[in-house]
Symmetry: C2
Amino acid sequence: MNVDSLIHAKWIIPVEPKNTVHENYSIAIKDGKIEAILPTDKARSKYTATEEHELQQHALIPGLINAHTHAAMNLFRGLADDLPLMEWLNNHIWPAETKWVDPDFVKDGTELAIAEMIRGGTTCFNDMYFFPDQTAEVCTHVGMRVVVGLILIDFPTAWAKDADDYIFKGEQVHDKYKHDSLINTAFAPHAPYTVSDEPLKRISVIAEELDIPIHMHIHETAFEVEQSVEQHGKRPLQRLSELSILSPRMLAVHMTQLNQEEINELARLSVSVAHCPESNLKLSSGFCPVGDLIKAGVNVCIGTDSVGSNNDLDMFGEMRTAALLAKGVAKDSTCVDAHTALKMATLNGAKALGLDESIGSLKKGKQADIVAVNLDQLETAPLYEPVSQIIYSANRQQVSDVWISGKQLLKNRELTTMEYSRLMEKAKQWEAKIKS
Amino acid sequence: MNVDSLIHAKWIIPVEPKNTVHENYSIAIKDGKIEAILPTDKARSKYTATEEHELQQHALIPGLINAHTHAAMNLFRGLADDLPLMEWLNNHIWPAETKWVDPDFVKDGTELAIAEMIRGGTTCFNDMYFFPDQTAEVCTHVGMRVVVGLILIDFPTAWAKDADDYIFKGEQVHDKYKHDSLINTAFAPHAPYTVSDEPLKRISVIAEELDIPIHMHIHETAFEVEQSVEQHGKRPLQRLSELSILSPRMLAVHMTQLNQEEINELARLSVSVAHCPESNLKLSSGFCPVGDLIKAGVNVCIGTDSVGSNNDLDMFGEMRTAALLAKGVAKDSTCVDAHTALKMATLNGAKALGLDESIGSLKKGKQADIVAVNLDQLETAPLYEPVSQIIYSANRQQVSDVWISGKQLLKNRELTTMEYSRLMEKAKQWEAKIKS
């Protein structure tokens, strides 16, 4: 039988079934989808392929899913660090955004971010930023999978002037891409403290109609919770629950302030949580109780947040930090083992975004979103357990090849749909402008 | 004036003076030492050099000092993860050590570790392991700077049979290398719970005579503290204090269990602390109160611990985790800023090891232990602040060149004193043996 591509690898870690490592296995790809996963000797006799890849020192994993980003902010990387949260936001990030954010900024910043993500094995990102139309356009152009956030915030920005305008423009973006296989959308009301009840209620209804997720910062800091208690007489989660916006559609980002009752309620309502460990640490927001959430049955995925508070889009680093920090916080060294960390960064992310039918694991019939990690390096030698090496020792420079829907976007570390030198040039142009 | 080498760089971050970044500066090296640090235009007119390096996209930093390792354990990388601490030690690490540790194991494991360290910008490591004679020999052979731990533990091992034997063999190693410029020694009594009072008292005296530091795991876990209270009626630090072993010579590793009184006492006695954030997280040992220690004036440096509990010797990763975790633990986003993290991994390490007269910063008269980091990468673009990029965005693959005492050990990512392919072969041989 003829297929488009055959990838032969030393190891395949499909994430589904759980805790599985196939040795000397191959993936056959046809029409952008996974046709079969089988032992290499069988693959060689059963299939002929237009393209064949021999990755005998590599592990194949599902493409990583970054569950929370503000991609365009890559242009602000390292602009302001080590500051108190409110000073950071009020005196640095928000003024810089007011000054610089326009369609060009979003286009160039997002492109830079996508290049960083692809070079680091990320094949899908869940974004929240202004000018989501630009984000979608760049992704289409370079072949990146995305969930574009249809942002909503109470104050006017360069993107929209009020709730009606935000929702209208968001729906336009949704309509334009609703039949696109790479571009998905989610409503992205910024946070409980920046979006009022009325638009939240509307979003809750429209998200149901359009059948898309809702992506929101919730319980990021103790201050947010206190402020809500003061202003509304209740914690943000309680308020959101009363607005009927908590459901399996909801992807709640950060969630560092949770009591056991809230954790149980999240599980009952099938709300997903996007854990951003490095951002939470850097901004000293608090510790997300990942161990307790998992124990309660909550779907927890992983995001980097923007480079403003990270300062990278490195999902390898983020998986490691998530696995390590969960153990420290739970006081349990068995909490979030290596396989679980990988699942959080793949299948759990897909589930949170309503995309687990098509991505998140290496499985017949799913989209061929595949990442090859070269484990034949001194930093990952000797090798007793490939998943342990991927989570605890490897880093993103060991990503050699990346496919999205069967199309190769990284080939032996070279980007195939973007020109590296042009991206660097653009980054330097923005650097010069923003510095001045 | 003629010098041996001139390195021209885009940025030099000397660590001393504090918070300094020189732009378009050069370092002149003569007889293994830093002869001068000056603007590049002046350097070009003042000096001629046998070797000249143009690093116009790079930052030069002092060689990183890994303040706590068990280097030979690199051969066990990823052998056992995500287990409860005591099961990990009793059923995996200690049996593997009993079975495998001999002079060859230490030689090969240490060599692999040194290669990893040099490729990651580490130029000095403070080690604790059996057969320290082998460790010293490998370091001499490849040109690596080390503080070899003269280990002491209450039970017999392949290295020595009892306290007398450990101390005798340790002194032999010390004597052999006492005039060596690269090889330093420290006493390394394993931990309060594995070394009894008598040998600790002796070590305290001999360390004074030999004028060397003492390197010890202390207050690593709550269990260690409880056990000591039960057995000795006092916390380990109290017991060590009464044994008069706490002094500026002491480098206390881990220290996750500390009350304010103990923190003040450490400051008063000028005890240094080696913080190993990733190991503490992975083994869920607890959080070292780095912010409080620094506030009290304690000298805090950074170590990776062994790959058994990390699983790498990546000081870039460790600096980042230290900077991030300190903010989370202290609930203060200004705690351990980027410059402080770099200082912890360089000058503070040197100070803890009694080597700050000769290494730890880029300063006229100090040894030329220098690391070049190539910041011209998409992952560190745009660039507003080189130190921020080094701590929060760069990773160790961006280390391009490394010098120890003026000798180049890494040249555009190639090891100069070790053969990469032979190291990989050795690693695979051990992997096959240990797996079987």
